[in-house]
Symmetry: D4
Subunit: 231 residues, 8 copies
């Protein structure tokens, strides 16, 4: 490994309030271990995404024992989890049980930043009662991350029912025209419900970061007046 | 016009119970008038689709006065309308008021065959009450043609609520990723609600024909036992 | 497994006459076994689709012995099969012998609901006699599910020859421009034969459900007059 | 015009805090005038989007004189503008001067709801100083709507520099591979900067609605503690 | 017009037996007239393709009177037509009457080279009898150019019925998923009938040239033994 | 294996002069062995395509010993090879050595029908001398099958140099925008050289069948006058 | 026009040696005139691209008389042309005469910067002699901009024959699969000739700028040793 | 292996100054060893690209010991490396550490030709300081190869900051809409920074060859006046 291969952006946390996550896909084991060493040397907590179980298995044992690894979400966390910031203001809503890996990636990213979400799983609109029966509870959350694959009708239905900020994360669940999540992505972008925003397909990490950008403003606003709300 | 340019399939009605419709796009005025003359000579009612208003305007006056033309649906009908067959068994459901041209094409195709549909317009799921408040009424129809553009969440929501045969017609309403109706089409094909079927984009005529194929079996079944139901 | 990961829609059968099928792709073994236990606890027959042989092989033996598994169609069924409802009113027609997995998924879904189909396999139009020689027999069925990959010319040819309801299921058979079934799908959607409807690629389950939606109306109509035909 | 063609969702404002906007594309003049009359009868302010100048020109004069029309953004507003809610908390940032129509649609949507944005136009990253020189000012806004076409590098650069909520609106500016905004859309979705969210191409209205969903929570939070922040 | 803008390939006829055709789209009127003058100066017959009627109308009158123009096929021919070479060995078969412009482009290209085709128009497979009733006649032609849009099932059905060389020309007839002829193109390329070859969409000129490449070998072979058959 | 799964088209050879080839992809081992048995029972030679080495390896030994298998082209042949028909009239030209599998599939298909081609391999235009130095030799063939991947410039260059019938077979060689052969396919279809025709990507079998359709006419023509040339 | 709509990057010339060009598409007449006034006030020469003739025609007469407008290339230049820098080191090579608008855009951009190119027009490879006969002349240029549409085989053939820097500009000439230049673009990117680089479709301006980036290094190198060559 | 399968273009080096590289994908082990033997027999250094580690492992040991193999870049080199030509004039700039395989392929291709590049790795614009802090150093290089995946904003930002020749190489890093590098490719092609050129996705070899084409002119120019600069 050349010393010049990695240039970590350690002050990102200071700059934008979100720490750099390490995208494991395409990185060699040597690169990952080098990055972990750099992080540990600075005493910085780190989040690794897209770390497949077989990639995790070949890390040095010393790293494996220190990492909090989750095979479902393919994430690993270095360092102690922060204390929860306050009561839950982010709802994670997933349409089907096959969307769980993305939901867990979002959940772990949020918890990694001290933001504990409330989970509503397997509430897709093909059984509409699953979402309408929990609508009152959902209306209590200012931020909703809606995770759905296939036709992704869930964010649209939610968008017409609640006024919260809705961040939709399309998933690659499905086959044929589902096209690895493109049908879901396009359906959400073309939604007839107003003001729904989207991340890349399967990007639970991105959905969580978008929620964090809003959550920090809300938490800051609760103590401060007007315009000074910015992070 | 060469005599050999047109080979009409006049016995289609006998063969499959659906008359040949004339697809006007790409045909010259001379071809259209020649086809009308052939139809009239046989005393056969004819349905012309995709006939834009400016194309209709340049037909010979003799034809214009004899045709029942509708600019919204771009259809023209030659010959007297048939008597309605019986009480309405087809519901036409459209998500938005911009879907009206497709809805009207389907409606006129059905009426051209004596099948009078019941219309539910502008009932998209961004205002969910619009569909749920009429659910009991909708449950009375064995055949539902669901017309929707943009994200086309309507057929999915319907598919989880009613057991009727649902024929979805995606429309080209929308822009950007709506992509001329492809997002709607793919969302319906990838629907998590079971057994929804689809036609080409904006194909109100096709949706009506699919409904007619089923309707004829139902009407035949009402008087006959089991297997002999086929048209 | 968290208790909140799965929200089964058990009353779908009551609501729309089609039971929830379990889409195995993307679900963990733990999720699948949890779902089976929920189903068994309610005494409900269950259909699992897209369950690859290597996924089936790692289920607990207790489940494997109780499931009726078919590797060709990748389906597993829990519970006793229902009695056939009556004489066969659904024809399953497949263009090539490579389309068999999709045909079998459709067949098993129909049988799971007591609807026994009649199968016409390997009758693609490149050898036109294969379909024309069986045309009279085919004309006896009010519902035809036409399964075809590559150029999918079969549904178009059928559509011009018979008046039955035709549900086309494109398959991913082929390579290059066949593009995982997209060429077949688009060819059917653009068909010059009127009133053919389509499901997602390789969706034998969906084709069967669409047939069931119609079949139930037909069977109901055989005993009842007019409008009350709806499910 | 049939009475049943339009089913307005008037209580959307009560339900989700965002009034229904009228999407003019695909609606007939008769439909638009009917909708305006319905709105006026209820004394409700209305926003019409995608109303091209030649479509506006053929509305009845009575409507034209009462509408506040803007040809650049293709929007028309019925009713008096609301008073601004407070100091500006939304920044509208556009990469090029060709993005102006989308920027103006967003601006007018926000103002229609009393939320007055601050505009930063023509600050694309090909001249990086244009954005870096205004960075301190930008850091004062908790919500940034970033509008960009072509390669849409602006949201990525912003995303690494500020912690605000960033809603990116790709535009159709460009040609060739820009593909009507798809290159911009995909670049933003694939951004290496964390937590950027996206709307449909050219959807200034949607970007504004997404900002409104957040803004209302912020304004509500400024007066209330924790969890009760939801709209 | 700069003298260096045009470099005509006059000896193409000598080299490959096919004269250069002038593709009018994208060329200015000045360029077209310059090219015509160059051709006339050499006494060479010329074929211009894709010359829209409004482009033809603005050519100098001197050129208009000397050109044999056909608005349907958008072709213009300079110079006297050659004598027919012999009895017809090329069949032009078109699926629908909307395919006529492409059929005429192919027909005029063939005639321009002395090869007189036999035309079978409007014989698409949705009315299968139209093709089967003329099958014996078709079997007399060693070269068949099959022109079809939408789902383009015609070449596949022909390919299973006759042993001639089949050159398929997909057309842009259709809408929605027909996608300007891409569905037709892909269906033909993915055909389950063996040995069908394809040209670009709407390329009647190309289909005719492919037929000419074969026709010349056949005509040469009729007088010569074996291997020396090449042009 | 159900008896009804396979409907072989044995008289295809009589009908169109090309025997049915068995497309192995998607067929089970049981299906393949059943088909071989049917063929052997009729004493008919059979060609199997797309039979991967690991699929071949699991056939019953009795079949493996009787099949002439070629791993490079993934083809297996049952039955004795026919005698060569005459001197070679088909040239197989491939651009790169990575195109060899497709070239061999075409070569074996031709030989299976007694048509022995002449091979020109690795003569792509990036080293133009490779093709120009062999041009005189190439001009001796009335039929040229040109096989090329990546940008597939070879058929275009050939098309401007020789008058033979040129059947281009795009290959999936390449990466990125080569897109599994789509760039090659589109480049050939859009070729500025006239009258080049194309098959599906990697379809060496199809290219050979197209050549056979022409070759049979040529061989027939050498002994017969005019119009009676058809197969 | 708001004062804040335009933020010109006047010091781009100082920074990177290439002045900002004004992309007229999507800008209003008011914006264009405002930009021209800003440029003129600074005495800066300006290049406007993508200015259609009907857009130019509605500029104020004062501007029209001062602009050097070219309808073929859709470019307008404000200010005096610079003196040519030296002998020509850039060759502009175009495959067909329909590529002229792109060639002229490149030519005018180069001349606007004092770099006078040498033009080789209409030398596509379907008539290979057109390029080989001028090869010696072409070898004298260190920079070649190769402009081609349809299958764009020209850059590949050039790339195998000359060692110069080759910048390929695909054009939108063609139809069907040419797909607005995407087939040409992909063919060049997938070229088997090494080291060819590409710009966006129809981007003659971009091809010229890429040539200028190289030309300036060459001209600087001619007077300076090694590494100090950078602009 | 047939003797006729390979036609190496050994004089490419003489002709265009770039030796033929062997693209290993799609070639058999026998072909690769045959090519190596041909190269060694001529005493010619050879570069093999896209040689996966498992493909390298099955080469004959005699070849493995003589090849300089690099698993990260999947390249193998036969023959001694040349001496470096002079001080470094090519900068290789990569956005992320996952782009390293492409960077190494480019680096090894350059070194294979004696051109030693300077590497700037992991300097993507999400942490803008990484590029701006090294800007002065970067300005010293006349040729910059910019390697980036995902949204590929790096080349655009560089393009507005430096006047060097910028060759962008998009990489397949990313998922979902990143689409194997297509989002990166399109973003660069649509860049608002002028004169950036692009290679195929992941084509480090091509980026290096493009740099070599320019580098040779620069090195030649340093000793010679004007126009005679061409290679």
């Amino acid at each position: 490994l050349s010393a010049d291969e990695v240039t970590l952006d350690f002050d990102r946390g200071v700059r934008i309030g979100l720490p750099e996550a390490i995208f494991a896909a395409g990185k060699s084991t040597a690169q990952l271990e080098h990055i972990l060493a750099l992080g540990e040397a600075r005493g910085q907590a780190m989040l690794i995404t897209r770390l497949e179980a077989d990639r995790f298995a070949v890390l040095a044992e010393a790293w494996r024992t220190r990492l909090d690894y989750c095979a479902v979400s393919r994430t690993a966390i270095l360092g102690d989890p922060p204390s929860p910031i306050g009561s839950s203001i982010v709802a994670l809503v997933a349409a089907g049980s096959s969307d769980l890996p993305v939901l867990r990636e979002a959940e772990r990213t949020l918890r990694h930043q001290g933001e504990v979400p409330t989970v509503f799983a397997d509430v897709g609109v093909a059984g509409l009662w699953r979402i309408t029966s929990r609508l009152e509870q959902l209306r209590g959350f200012p931020i909703v991350v809606a995770i759905a694959g296939m036709d992704a009708a869930l964010p649209t239905v939610l968008g017409g029912l609640i006024g919260a900020s809705i961040i939709a994360v399309p998933t690659s669940v499905g086959y044929g025209v589902a096209a690895g999540g493109h049908a879901a992505l396009n359906a959400i972008l073309a939604s007839c419900a107003p003001g729904i925003v989207v991340t890349n397909i399967d990007n639970g990490y991105g959905g969580a970061c978008a929620a964090l950008r809003i959550a920090r403003v809300i938490r800051a606003s609760q103590n401060r007046p007007d315009r000074s709300a910015a992070a």
